[in-house]
Amino acid sequence: MFAFILRRAGQGLLVIAVMVVLVFFGVNVVGDPVWILVSPDMTQDQIAEVARSLGLDRPIQEQFFLFVGGILQGELGRSFVHGTPAIGLILERMPATLELALVALMLAIVVGIPLGLYAGLYPDSAPARGIMAVSILGFSLPTFWVGLMLIMVFSVMLGWLPATGRGPVGHFLGIPTSLVSWQGWVHILLPAINLALLKISLVIRLARAGAREAVLQDYVKFARAKGLGRGRIVGVHILKNIMIPIVTILGLEFGSLVAFSVVTETIFSWPGMGRLLLEAIQRLDRPVIVAYVIVVVCLFVVINLMVDIIYSLLDPRVRLSEAAT
C-alpha cells in the first residue's frame, strides 16, 4: 500500500515536471506579457524597467531556470498583475471551486444513480425512455447555453434564485465555505446544476448500462432463488457491482469538474479558480497560469490515488499492487 502510494506520487511528479515545461514555454509563445502590463504612454525606458522588474528581460532559458529554482524552494513566483504570490491567489480561490465541484458531484450521484438504476431495471418503460432522452440532451447541450437558460428561467423569469455570485462565506471546521448558510445554498444551486448536468447524464448512462448487465447475471438470479426481496437485490447485489465503474469514472470526472469549471464560473460570476485562470490567460500572467496547472495536476494525482483506494474497497478482487502496473 505504501509502495503503491509512493509510486503514484513519483508518477505525479513526472507529470508535473512535463506540464511545467510545456506551459512555461507555451505561454511565452503566445505573447509578451510586458506589452499587456504597460500603458501606452510609457517611455521605452519605463517599459524596460517593468520588464526588468518582472525578470522578463533575461533570455527565456534563464527565466526558466530561475523559475524552476523557485519551484524547488517552494516559490511559484509572483503574479505579474497582482504582485502577490501566484499560489496564494489560487489557494484563496480554491475553496469556492471545490465547493462548487463537490455539490455538482453530489448532484450527479444523488440524481444520476437512482435514475440510471431505474432506467436499467425497466428499460422499456415510458419513464426510462424519458430519462434516456433527457440524458442525451444533457450530453449534447453546451454548458454555457444551459447556464444562460437556467439564469433566464430561474432568475429572470421566475425570480427564484440569484443569477450570480457566491453566498456569504462562513467557516466549517476551519474551511471557508458558503454551504453553512441558506443563502449560500441558494447561490450555489444554479451553477452546481449547470456544472452537474453533464455528469448526471454520464452517471445515468453508466448506472443504466451496469444495471442492465447485472440483472442478467447468475448471481442476481441466485439471489432471487434464495428468496431475497427486490430491495435487497437491487440495493446491495446490483448497486455494489455497478458502483465500481461509476466510482472510477466519477473520480476522474471530479478532477475535470474542478479544472474545467471555467465556463460555469464565468457565466455565474463564481469567484473560483476557473475565473482566475481565465483572467490570467487574458493578461498572460504566466506565474498564475503555471501555478494553476501545477495545482490541477496535483489534484488529479491525489484524486486518482483516492479512486484506486476506493476501488479496491469496493471490488475485493482488486489488489492495489496490481492496479499500479
Binding site: 438470479k221 441466485f222 432463488a225 434464495k226 431475497l228 426481496g229
Partner: protein
C-alpha cells in the same frame, strides 16, 4: 408412491419473442416423492433448465408460464405473487446453478451472502444467522468454515464455490432442490465429490431433488427416477434402471447409444442425426420424428401422448404399438 412433495402438471412455458413464440416447455408433468432424486435429462435447448426455472417462478419476460400448475405440498405456486413466491424460494424450494463462478456475487463476502439468506426466511439475530451459515459450510465440507466464511468468492476454487452454493441452498432444509447441471463446469474428480455430497445431504435432510443434466452417467449413479426431455416435452420417464437398461423411446435409445463408453474402441461412435428442432417452429406430430429412424406416418401427423409402458411411461407411437394399426 407417497403423496408427491412436488407435482407439476401440464406445465407450459413460452417465450414471446419478436421472432415468434418459443415453446421452451410445452406440457411437462412430473412428480417428486419426498426424498426422491429425479434426473431430468436432455440435450441443450430441450427445455430442462427452463422447467427448473419455471418451478421456481424465475421466468422473466418475454417468457411466461402459460398453462399448468406447480404444486409444492399441494399449494399451487403459479398463482402466488412475487412477494409470496419469494417466501417460498430459498426456504421450501431451492436451486443450484450450473456455473459456480457466476452464482455468487463477486463483491460480497460469503458470510454476507449466506447470512442474508438465513435472515430472509428466519427471524433470528445476526449472530445466530452467522452460526447457522458456518454450520452449513461445515456440512458441505468446507474446511475451517469459521475463517473461510469471511472470504470473497474469488478466493475459492470452482468446486468450493459450488459447495458454498449448495450450503446456501440447504440453509433452510428445503423440501425440494432443483440442481441445474451443478457439476458440468467442474473437474471430474470434483464432480464426483459434489455428487456424493449432494446425495448424502439429500438423504440426511430428506430433501427431494431434481437433477438437471445432459450426462446420463451422472443420472445412472445418482437418481432414483429419470425423465428424458426432448423439445419441451418429457418423452420417457421411469425408474432409472428400467429406463436406462430397457429404453423404449428411440430418442432415449439414441442418447444412451451416444455415450462413448458403449462403443468399441476405434469403431465409429453412435450419434443421433440432425439437431434439436427450433422451438418456435415445432413440426406437427412427434417433435423427434424428423430425426427418428423408426418414424412412421402417424408420427408426423399426431403428437404421441405419454402412456405407461412396462415400468416406465413413454410418448412414442412406435413403442406404444399404436402405429401397428396402420
Amino acid at each position: 408412491m407417497d403423496a408427491p412433495v412436488l407435482n407439476v402438471e401440464g406445465l407450459k412455458t413460452h417465450f414471446f419473442t419478436r421472432a415468434g413464440v418459443v415453446k421452451s416447455v410445452d406440457g411437462v408433468s412430473l412428480q417428486l416423492a419426498p426424498g426422491e432424486i429425479l434426473g431430468l435429462v436432455g440435450e441443450s435447448g430441450s427445455g430442462k433448465s427452463v422447467t427448473g426455472f419455471s418451478i421456481l417462478g424465475l421466468i422473466d419476460p418475454p417468457g411466461r408460464i402459460v398453462e399448468g400448475t406447480v404444486r409444492l405440498e399441494g399449494r399451487d405456486l403459479t398463482t402466488l405473487d412475487d412477494k409470496a413466491m419469494s417466501r417460498v424460494r430459498g426456504k421450501d424450494l431451492a436451486m443450484i446453478f450450473q456455473d459456480p463462478m457466476m452464482t455468487l456475487n463477486p463483491v460480497l463476502k460469503i458470510s454476507t451472502q449466506l447470512i442474508e439468506t438465513v435472515l430472509a426466511h428466519a427471524p433470528v439475530s445476526k449472530a445466530e444467522a452467522r452460526q447457522r451459515a458456518i454450520a452449513a459450510l461445515a456440512m458441505v465440507g468446507i474446511p475451517s468454515p469459521e475463517e473461510r466464511i469471511d472470504a470473497y468468492p474469488h478466493q475459492f476454487s470452482g468446486g468450493m464455490r459450488q459447495r458454498v452454493a449448495i450450503a446456501t441452498a440447504l440453509l433452510h432444509r428445503p423440501k425440494v432442490i432443483i440442481a441445474d447441471e451443478p457439476t458440468t463446469a467442474l473437474d471430474v474428480t470434483i464432480q464426483s465429490q459434489i455428487l456424493a455430497k449432494m446425495q448424502e445431504l439429500c438423504r440426511e435432510i430428506g430433501t427431494a431433488m431434481i437433477w438437471i443434466t445432459h450426462d446420463l452417467s451422472v443420472v445412472a449413479g445418482l437418481a432414483d427416477r429419470v425423465a428424458v426431455m426432448y423439445a419441451g416435452r418429457i418423452v420417457e420417464t421411469g425408474p432409472v434402471g428400467a429406463v436406462l437398461d430397457f429404453p423404449h423411446h428411440p430418442y432415449t435409445q439414441g442418447l444412451i447409444g451416444s455415450v462413448p463408453s458403449h462403443a468399441e474402441p476405434g469403431a465409429r461412435l453412435a450419434q443421433i442425426p440432425g439437431a434439436t428442432p427450433s422451438l418456435s417452429a415445432l413440426p406437427d406430430g412427434c417433435a423427434f420424428a424428423p430425426r427418428c429412424a423408426k418414424a412412421i406416418g402417424l408420427c408426423r401427423r399426431e403428437a404421441p401422448q405419454i402412456e405407461p409402458l412396462g415400468m416406465a411411461s413413454v410418448a412414442c407411437h412406435v413403442a406404444q404399438g399404436t402405429g401397428g394399426l396402420e
